[in-house]
Symmetry: C2
Subunit: 452 residues, 2 copies
């Protein structure tokens, strides 16, 4: 079937488009979103659409200026309105202590929604396709996410629509080639420091050796899970309206009503109770802890960010957190997992890791990241050593002595490690095995004192 | 916690064991099942258990005689009754046209159940542990299985109990080493021709680089899915009792009642209807086809093995299959996926692939299988060629001409292929790149004419 007709049929069957609507198209200049813009411009007359193209400049990559110009020209050629928003994601990420990816995604969707509101758009179209869906499902699977995670992305999620969830990357690329669209390559898509890129570049091709149809099969899994999740959510919401009630200065849930439910609904009722007090996601282990509290009715309480759960008089109460005593936290045992560029906090210091395309920062170091699997930030431990320039190793204690760092400060210096191996004594020295050679992937690292 | 106490706690919390029961222990002589026997013998007094040890000799590996003797001695030392069953799995597999793995598993469970019935056992204990569970979940995930597949193995499935689902391979191995149990190594566990072995030896260690806690996370996923699947099954079963009713020479389901349900329940109602007529598993695509039939109410019918589904008068009818006309099936486009040792049928021929430990068979060939990923059986296609001994390649057509094979027969000769590459022109010649070198993994292949 013709690509445009296939996308149109998917939009119709999934109820993504309606006549006379205004649609904001999120366009990065990559092949997927340029194809989306092109297809929509060809469906415009038939659906009587008004199209607004929106580019968000993250203030990270130099190439973004060129991309914005290409998207603008593509929009102009198709007589679409064009909006370009400039933000500074690294600074935002540092301020909110989120990874650059997370901060970028949040600000991008916020700006897209602002644009949609300003132009009176019914929806925002993004270019995720079936290969993206397989990646998303795989990503959630690897973390052991349950039904909700395995649903992957929805064709419609409130005001976000995904007209390409019915087509594959290969189909899009064939279309782009046939239409000779001016595709811009985002080089960060090939940096293996990002988990998402490793999933796409390494893991999915490998899984295809185990199951050649893995992309289709994971899309089918997402479809099945979406159906089941819809049903389970609707059922649980009805139970929630019945049993989760305001009271005791928060919300209450009868333990007897809870325990009378099958375990799948018990877990969901706990989630509903917690969601009444806080938007903080709750982990499976936390749900199980609260269920154990209810089963034993011990009167003990459970605390997480934004909510305190207390069991009393056969009721679970979801209450506001109480003001916490100031405690001196001994941070020596802290370990922070490092899974990509971002700002990581250990004690009072922030260690910032930024993709190679970030402009240099004062006192930054370059770290080879081609083979990163699981990095972490921690403080020193007995037996630590570091590889220095001439290939020799030095005990960390000896290093500190040589550097004349007082013993009282040694426990406060973050160490970026790959397993047992120290990569970077943050602020002091880089393991010579992690000096990037020419042409190798690298990241920039620097350290910030807490400004508060 | 002490390993024995941990297993005992898991058995108690999961309701696997009760006092004064007789338990059949399936024991292969490997570390897992020897540990299971040892732990149960130490729990025997406390739970007042009667233990019966059962070994099934598959008639495949020479080492099985030694294993049986070791298991017998282990049983005797612990004063347990011992049963050894001898079967010939390769012959069974050939007769039932199943893979050797499938045929072996079926006959093993049948014999374990026979033994349990004979000795009056309440349950059969098998030694699957948390790493096996992660493998099972991963296996189903790679095939895109939905909720039921992602549940993995249950702690109890009717008469089968899995007391080790709360412990890991590492914990078992530490226990085995500490108790100096006489573990027997099954060398087929290291043959990469078996998908299950590749998942364990290659894929799971790789995924651990993406998520060091992947085993635990997949076990948690299984636990969540078991809860959700129990709920969904119970709900669907209640709907099934209400709406799937005997009638019209089979079973009927009101289209209006069906379409009034959310899609998750529609799919499950279709499965219930089909299961009334046949034990053949139904695929997701088949479910969707039947749903489309119901949605359109076209009067067309859908057929699969054991059931015919007809939509008439706003009812879906699940009916017995009608006797089929004899048709001449053109098999030229058939492709059969080959995913491990077993018997594979293409047209009127069966191609048998057997592990290296199978005794030689007349006219067998040896095929290198170390790097197998996705093999398939098919007939010739334009452009096919084969690599011959001296490193040269020959067009398949030329090969057939040289061998004086009449054109009429050339379309009937199965080709075992790895992607585009021909491995074996079955019955005629092996690609020289697939001759196994000394010490490389290999399989035996031979061809059987249909005996019917």
């Amino acid at each position: 079937m013709d690509f445009v007709r296939k996308v149109a049929a998917y939009c119709r069957d999934s109820g993504l488009l309606h006549r006379d609507e205004c649609i904001v198209i999120a366009c990065s200049g990559g092949s997927d979103s340029l194809a989306l813009l092109d297809v929509f411009s060809r469906l415009r007359q038939e659906w009587r659409l008004r199209l607004v193209v929106c580019y968000v400049h993250h203030g990270i990559r130099a190439a973004a200026d060129r991309e914005a110009a290409v998207v603008e020209r593509a929009a102009m050629e198709r007589e679409c309105a064009f909006y370009c928003h400039r933000v500074r994601v690294p600074q935002l990420a540092a301020a909110t202590r989120e990874s650059i990816e997370t901060a970028g995604r949040k600000v991008r969707y916020r700006l897209l929604r602002q644009t949609a509101a300003a132009v009176g758009a019914a929806a925002i179209a993004v270019a995720h396709h079936r290969d993206d869906q397989a990646e998303t499902v795989l990503h959630h699977f690897l973390r052991g996410s349950g039904t909700a995670g395995l649903c992957g992305m929805r064709a419609r999620n409130r005001d976000i629509i995904r007209p390409f969830l019915g087509v594959t990357r290969r189909e899009i690329e064939a279309y782009v080639a046939a239409r000779k669209l001016p595709v811009q390559i985002d080089e960060t898509n090939f940096q293996r420091f990002y988990l998402r890129n490793r999933l796409r570049l390494d893991l999915l091709p490998l899984l295809r050796q185990y199951n050649p149809a893995v992309t289709e099969d994971l899309n089918r899994l997402a479809a099945v899970m979406q159906g089941e999740d819809d049903f389970l959510c609707a059922y649980a919401a009805a139970l929630g309206r019945k049993y989760v009630r305001p009271g005791s200065g928060g919300w209450t849930l009868s333990v007897d009503a809870l325990m009378a439910q099958p375990v799948a609904m018990r877990r969901r009722l706990i989630r509903i109770g917690v969601s009444k007090m806080t938007a903080t996601p709750i982990t499976f282990q936390q749900v199980e802890t609260i269920l154990a509290l209810a089963a034993k009715a011990t009167g003990k309480e459970f605390r997480m960010k934004g909510v305190r759960v207390v069991c009393s008089y056969r009721e679970l109460c979801f209450l506001p957190p109480v003001a916490r005593r100031k405690t001196t936290v001994s941070s020596d045992a802290s370990v922070v997992a490092v899974n990509g560029p971002g700002s990581y906090r250990l004690g009072k210091r922030q260690v910032v890791l930024a993709g190679a395309v970030t402009p240099p920062v004062r006192d930054n170091v370059l770290l080879r990241c081609g083979t990163v699997t699981a990095w972490q930030l921690r403080y020193r431990r007995p037996g630590d050593y570091i590889c220095l320039q001439n290939g020799s190793t030095k005990k960390l204690k000896k290093f500190f002595i040589d550097q004349k760092i007082p013993a009282s400060r040694r426990d406060q210096i973050p160490l970026l490690c790959n397993g047992q191996e120290i990569i970077w004594i943050c602020g002091y020295a880089v393991n010579s095995r992690y000096f990037p050679a020419a042409g190798e992937d690298y990241i920039r690292g620097w350290i910030q004192e807490e400004t508060v």
